[in-house]
Amino acid sequence: MTKKRKISLTEEELITALRQHDKIAAEALYDMYSSSLFGVIIRVVQNNELAEDLLQETFVKIWNSFSSYSADKGRLFTWMVNIARNLSIDKIRSKDYKNQTKNHELELNVTSIDASRNTAYKPELLGVKDLVNNLRPEQKIILDLIYFKGYTHLEAADELSIPLGTIKTRLRMAIIQLRKYFN
């Protein structure tokens, strides 16, 4: 199979092109970030079809609201990950979604998704399980609630009946583990 050539630009070039709404910007944006954003979305909503719709919504939103992005408020990719997460979280919190799926169990999505999709994974994905398993259970739960389920830290504190300060430091510890892993 011939490998599809993907467009890749530096972040700076991409931002310029996005401001101008060039078609090549959209192509580059898609080629560079669609799989990462899709990964984020599918782990939040755990449903392939829904995730495809949300990926679409995510790109439309990135495209149309790009004027509101500013580099001094954070990095481009982080901004996009948050758009994808927020749209997905809004979706699973919406009424009609809740009516469809009643049962919400607290589980770590990272591992359950792998079981529910029989996609061929990159070998380094094994690392994700290791990574997540390296987290302490209490760190895992908080990362899961806040990152994948979109709980605010207040809601997470409420849900787990632990003080707000503890939620914050545990989240920090979890992310420090991630930082260590990626360095």
């Binding site: 599809k4 050539r5 467009i7 630009l9 070039e13 310029t16 092109a17 101008q20 709404h21 060039d22 078609k23 090549i24 959209a26 192509e27 898609y30 669609s34 799989s35 990462s36 954003l37 899709f38 990964g39 984020v40 782990r43 995730a51 495809e52 990926l55 679409q56 790109f59 439309v60 495209w63 001094d72 408020k73 954070g74 990095r75 990719f77 982080t78 990950v81 997460r85 927020n86 999709r117 996609t119 990159k122 994905l125 690392g127 994700v128 806040i146 990152y147 605010t152 830290h153 300060g165 939620i167 914050k168 430091t169 545990r170 989240l171 920090r172 992310i175 991630l178 930082r179 990626f182």
Partner: protein, 330 residues
């Protein structure tokens, strides 16, 4: 200092990166980040970790989704034009729709055609170059003769004045019909004017000759590229001869089809490099026109395009007014 450390360790920056703060809290963080570089640094590292986490969790979406999504977005210029396809689309189509062997067949035919047209163009340019060289030599000889004549006339006149102080008599070698009623000084003035004119003519011819020499050089250099810019909206086209090594770029107006521009507008040539348009100058298309026009050159470019701009050109291309465009295939 201690406060900043505490602030960092409170975990609020993680919440900021995860977009989990109220707008007021966010503003606070942004203010701190501006004043304290260590906070900015921490934010960066947290973001990088979240991004790597997302990358590590990446899942390739269904292939069909790409075009579905790209078709949903509104583009600034080219979207509304039916004939337009993006760089990438073109590439994909050419690989998918034709088999490998066909591709090479066409590629071979295309390069053969290019070779032949280049050869013919080269031959033409060479002939014209020879012609104008001959013309130049003839003109220079004529000029020399003329100059001698004028000099001789002047010296003779001087001698005559010295000798006699008498009114000027027509020198014998000047056609008496042409000079009837004129005195010699007027004749000389006229001769001088005509000498000047022929000198101008020679200069122009020399310039033209230089142009042809340069064009000839470009056409005969194997490092030169010939790029066809195709009409975005219609069948306009423009041919460019470009030699990145010699820093030469010419547009071939004769082999082009562009509408004549009005007084208030000019065509502007752009090179696209790293997605940024770089102006290579403006040009006119008139009914009677020279063949080749020299433009600014550039060492690298992924594509070239021409837009119609207000006379004198613009800083940035007016994308709506894009007339032709072509890719630099290596």
């Amino acid at each position: 200092m201690e406060d900043i450390k505490q602030y960092i360790e409170s975990g609020i920056l993680e919440l900021y990166v995860l977009d989990n703060l109220t707008p007021e809290e966010k503003l606070d963080v942004e203010r701190y980040a501006i004043s304290y570089p260590e906070i900015q640094k921490e934010l960066n590292e947290i973001s990088a970790a979240i991004e790597s986490f997302a990358e590590l969790n990446a899942i390739e979406p269904n292939e069909n989704l790409r075009s579905t999504i790209l078709n949903q977005l509104e583009y600034s210029v080219t979207e509304s034009k039916p004939g337009y396809t993006s760089f990438e689309d073109k590439k994909i189509i050419s690989l998918k729709n034709t088999s490998q062997t066909n591709f090479y067949k066409y590629a071979f035919a295309a390069s053969l055609a290019l070779f032949l047209t280049t050869g013919i163009a080269l031959f033409n340019v060479y002939n014209r170059l020879q012609d104008s060289r001959q013309q130049l030599v003839a003109l220079q000889q004529q000029n020399q003769k003329f100059a001698n004549q004028v000099n001789f006339q002047e010296s003779e006149l001087d001698q005559y004045r010295k000798k006699s102080g008498a009114p000027v008599i027509q020198p014998s070698f000047i056609d008496s019909n042409a000079v009837k009623g004129d005195n010699s000084q007027q004749i000389i003035a006229r001769q001088k004017a005509s000498l000047k004119e022929s000198q101008k003519e020679i200069l122009a011819l020399e310039r033209q000759n230089k142009t042809r020499e340069k064009v000839f050089e470009i056409f005969s250099d194997p490092a030169s590229r010939f790029i066809k810019l195709k009409g975005v909206k219609d069948s306009s086209k423009l041919l460019i001869a470009w030699n990145p090594d010699k820093k030469q770029l010419w547009i071939n107006k004769k082999a082009s089809a562009l509408p004549v521009n009005d007084k208030d507008h000019q065509y502007q040539l752009w090179a696209i490099r790293k997605l940024k348009p770089i102006s290579l100058g403006v040009f006119d298309i008139r009914k009677t026109d020279s063949i080749m026009e020299n433009m600014s050159s550039i060492d690298r470019a992924s594509a070239f395009a021409v837009t119609l701009e207000p006379r004198g050109g613009s800083e940035k291309p007016t994308l709506k007014e894009m007339v032709v465009m072509g890719l630099n295939h290596k």
